[in-house]
């Protein structure tokens, strides 16, 4: 909020004063104590990581194997012209540390595989799926389910985006919702769409850590072409090969 009247009180407000109005000092401590893995430092990872860093999530683990390309810069604002050809996690970590020196940022320059995924998500309080194709998403989903770690999913194409939150054993996992993977494509990508969906993912992480109703059991569809939003029911699949073996429990919408 602009302090047009030169309000002196605002000068002394702490970094998190405005969000502590929502969830209090206890909520802020929960954020500071949390480790969040962000898989993907691209279009979705840029807004998701930026808002989580700014909100004071204590430890952010950024995972991306890719280097910055010119065609990334229309939406991936953690990187700039000077970063072209260098690892995305390096420029992302630098920007995030500059944004908030109170947090720890851990860059991991790796592609997510069945071999390394368990080690990557181990100890995480939440995992953000900011990947750009379904095959590694499903690897991440399976690891999140195995580790009982919440997964905040987002995906985009052009003006369209989708998001859902997975609480393993309590709400539908990605395999329940998407039993068959869409083909990998060179997708059209627009900054504002990634901004909407990545922000929703960051909001889900913050609510999970501080307490609040989540986007579980539902698939949110953002249609930026029409500026409209729909929410489809997304129940668990009892026959899901990934999470179907977990006992059915009453869905908890909050931690």
């Amino acid at each position: 909020m602009p302090a047009g009247d030169g309000n002196q009180e605002q000068v002394s407000e702490g970094r998190y004063a405005r969000q502590e109005m929502i969830f209090g000092a206890a909520g802020q401590e929960a954020l500071a104590a949390a480790t969040v893995v962000i898989a993907g430092a691209g279009g979705l990872g840029s807004p998701a990581a930026t808002y989580l860093a700014a909100a004071g999530v204590g430890r952010l683990v950024l995972v991306d194997f890719d280097t910055v390309a010119l065609s990334n810069l229309n939406r991936q604002f953690l990187h700039g012209d000077a970063d072209i050809g260098t690892p995305k996690v390096a420029s992302a970590a630098r920007r995030l540390r500059a944004l908030n020196r109170e947090i720890e940022v851990v860059p991991v320059g790796a592609k997510i595989t069945e071999e390394n995924v368990a080690a990557i998500v181990q100890g995480a309080d939440a995992v953000v799926d900011a990947l750009d194709s379904f095959a590694p998403r499903m690897v991440l989903n399976e690891a999140a389910v195995k580790g009982r770690i919440p997964l905040m999913h987002g995906a985009i194409s052009g003006f369209y985006g989708q998001a859902t939150t997975v609480l393993p054993g309590k709400s539908a996992c990605l395999r329940c919702i998407f039993p068959s993977e869409p083909p990998k494509e060179t997708f059209p990508a627009l900054g504002p769409t990634a901004g909407v969906i990545g922000s929703i993912q960051a909001g889900e992480v913050i609510k999970y850590l501080t307490g609040g109703p989540l986007l579980t059991g539902r698939l949110l569809l953002w249609n930026g072409a029409e500026a409209s939003c729909d929410v489809l029911p997304a129940p668990r699949d009892p026959a899901c090969p990934v999470c179907g073996h977990l006992p059915v429990t009453t869905e908890e919408t909050s931690r």
Partner: protein
């Protein structure tokens, strides 16, 4: 009987948001979607080369998601609402 189909995201570019159809009794889900593409075109959007509804397309009838293996024989009822959505995968 009357049914209707709601399309989301880029499917709207091909089929519009909502289509009301009058179909014969004993109409299956693929029958209804074939009616839709007969009316609006773009069969390649929904069907693979074998004429089956593409597996990755998310399909719901009456608010219930239909697994790919359950779509072929699914019979529709008067007033059913079919939802079709192409999951996006970029990031």
């Amino acid at each position: 009987m009357k049914i209707h189909i709601r399309a989301f995201a880029r499917f709207r570019e091909d089929f519009g948001e909502r289509t009301d159809l009058t179909v014969p009794d004993a109409c299956t889900l693929p029958d209804a979607l074939r009616e839709l593409t007969a009316l609006k075109g773009h069969p390649e959007t929904l069907f693979d080369d074998d004429g089956a509804v593409k597996d990755f397309v998310l399909v719901m009838v009456g608010g219930e998601r239909l697994a790919p293996e359950d779509r072929h024989a699914r019979l529709l009822a008067e007033g059913d609402e079919i939802v079709i959505y192409p999951p996006v995968s970029g990031g």
